[in-house]
């Protein structure tokens, strides 16, 4: 369960990205985060896995205050969250396989199990034949799919995806969406920032619209644009 209480975020350069957000997301929900470019979607997301710290306000994950986490416990927080970064953040020196395996090595999984699981998710994102390639040898969409594979490989309790279909064609996008839905059905909370109107409007879920760092709209089975 994710909770934010009057959270503000001002970046060191003075940009006020989040201006008082209070929100409550239950375990097992599927939430779209929408909003124009620069609205604050990524900032909102980054605070959840503590890439950024809020300037003011409290964030609770599983009823535990994020601010109370000691620095050395943060990795354990992150291991329960799968994150698809907007800019992918793949390790350039590692192959596709190694990139995904890294998320499992970190939790000291057995080698055989790592191999099995990685090949399984590579199958899901249809990149099994690119396992031995390096990120710079992939197309934009392929890199994005690797990022998705890495985020789901260790069955996280929360999946956070920042525009996971930005570089994908509509067909592949739909495949990815069905994967996310399936994961959500298995109990994983899914948060997804997106600009894809088609997807939001067809696959109706809770929609949180951010505008200028504030929540402009929060609808249970919402659409991309305001229906009013």
């Amino acid at each position: 369960m994710i909770q934010m209480q009057d959270v503000w975020k001002t970046y060191p350069n003075g940009v006020m990205a989040i201006n008082g957000m209070t929100i409550h997301i239950d375990s097992g929900e599927f939430v779209y985060i929408v909003g124009s470019s620069g609205a604050g979607k990524s900032s909102f997301i980054k605070m959840l896995y503590r890439e950024e710290k809020p300037t003011r306000g409290e964030i609770f994950i599983d009823d535990k205050k994020l601010a109370d986490y000691k620095e050395r416990h943060i990795p354990y927080l992150r291991r329960n969250m799968g994150v698809v970064f907007q800019d992918f953040k793949l390790l350039p020196g590692l192959t596709v396989f190694e990139n995904i395996a890294f998320a499992l090595e970190v939790i000291e999984e057995k080698k055989d199990e790592i191999k099995r699981r990685v090949m399984q998710v590579l199958d899901i994102v249809r990149l099994k034949n690119k396992a031995r390639f390096y990120p710079h040898e992939l197309s934009g969409g392929e890199q994005q799919r690797v990022a998705i594979a890495r985020a789901i490989v260790n069955n996280p309790s929360v999946l956070i995806a920042d525009e996971p279909t930005g570089n994908l064609d509509p067909d592949t996008s739909w495949e990815i969406m069905h994967i996310l839905e399936e994961i959500n059905d298995r109990g994983t909370t899914v948060l997804m920032a997106t600009h894809n109107r088609e997807i939001v409007n067809s696959m109706r879920k809770r929609v949180i619209a951010i505008e200028g760092g504030r929540i402009a709209r929060d609808e249970v089975r919402g659409t991309y644009n305001n229906e009013s």
Binding site: I61, H73, A103, K110
Partner: protein
């Protein structure tokens, strides 16, 4: 949400150490040119340090041998009888710290003196008729620092007419060797510091290039120690690999030099230190320095990128 592990499992599984070792050595290969840059920095700096160490150890050895030559010349009363001379010798011998006592009869002394003058000595052949010299005891202290005390003790004894132990030369030499020793230590310390600084610098640069990657690892849930271990291994290997060449070069080079020059040196007062214990000492120092600096440089540099 499933229970979050906050306990911070502090023990790592054995297979994870294996992974770190593999990862660390793989990184050496992956970073190609960067690895080369680091290793060659280690190599070059250790070579310089090792070479100077060898030179300075030899100079110190030479200084030591100079000090050992410090001796007290006791001029015996010309009136002293043989028994009295023997008495004096015994008295000197009972003093603590006396190493050797040599007796030089006045005739032998004159012979040596005339010889030492070379051609010019010929003009003094006439002296042989009435030898103006004394019989002499040459006393060597066990420890050059005791020379002063011994000299004072001997001076008070009977039948000692005069006593010479080259206070001036001795003190000058003594302070000179001290100076050389201190200068040597300062020089080596300076070089070592320079080497450490430059090696750490180079390693730091290679790690800065991986700053983003370290950040990504943290974001994917790696603990600091998980990230640090491969860097530890990498630094260790860098240092050890970097010390191989200097050790090999020094060992071979010094050995060659020792056998080529050392044995037939024109300067027979100077003696090269034998290769055996010295080269081993230097090698150990170089490997240890390389390894420590490698690991230290590596971990220090990683540290500041771990705060993500």
């Amino acid at each position: 949400m499933r229970g979050m592990k906050l306990g911070g499992r502090t023990t790592m599984k054995v297979r994870t150490y294996g992974r770190h070792f593999k990862e660390g050595s793989k990184n050496l290969v992956r970073n190609g040119w960067m690895t080369f840059a680091s290793i060659s920095a280690v190599t070059v700096m250790l070579l310089v340090v090792g070479a100077f160490l060898a030179v300075i150890m030899n100079i110190n050895h030479f200084a030591d041998s100079l000090e050992e030559d410090v001796e007290i010349r006791v001029f015996i009363d010309r009136d002293a009888e043989t028994s009295e001379q023997d008495n004096l010798e015994e008295n000197i011998d009972t003093l603590s710290g006396v190493d050797t006592i040599d007796y030089i009869p006045r005739d032998e002394g004159l012979e040596d003196f005339i010889d030492s003058l070379g051609d010019e000595g010929d003009y003094f052949e006439s002296l042989r008729e009435e030898n103006p010299l004394n019989d002499v005891f040459v006393v060597n202290a066990e420890n050059p620092e005791q020379t002063d005390r011994l000299a004072a003790d001997i001076e008070g004894m009977d039948h000692v007419e005069n006593l010479e132990y080259g206070q001036d030369i001795f003190e000058q030499l003594f302070s000179a060797t001290d100076f050389i020793r201190i200068a040597g230590i300062v020089l080596i310390a300076g070089l070592l510091f320079t080497a450490i600084f430059l090696i750490a610098n180079t390693i730091k640069l290679t790690i800065i290039a991986r700053k983003t990657e370290i950040g990504i690892m943290k974001l994917v849930g790696a603990t600091n120690s998980f990230i640090r271990w491969p860097f530890f291994i990498e630094g260790l290997l860098l240092g050890i690999l970097g010390s191989i060449l200097p050790i090999a070069a020094l060992t071979y080079g010094y050995d060659q030099l020792y056998h080529a020059i050392g044995e037939r040196t024109g300067l027979d007062f100077f003696e090269f230190l034998p290769p055996y214990p010295m080269l081993l000492q230097i090698s150990v120092l170089l490997v240890v320095t390389g390894a420590v600096v490698g690991v230290w440089g590596s971990l220090m540099s990683v540290r500041k990128f771990l705060k993500v």
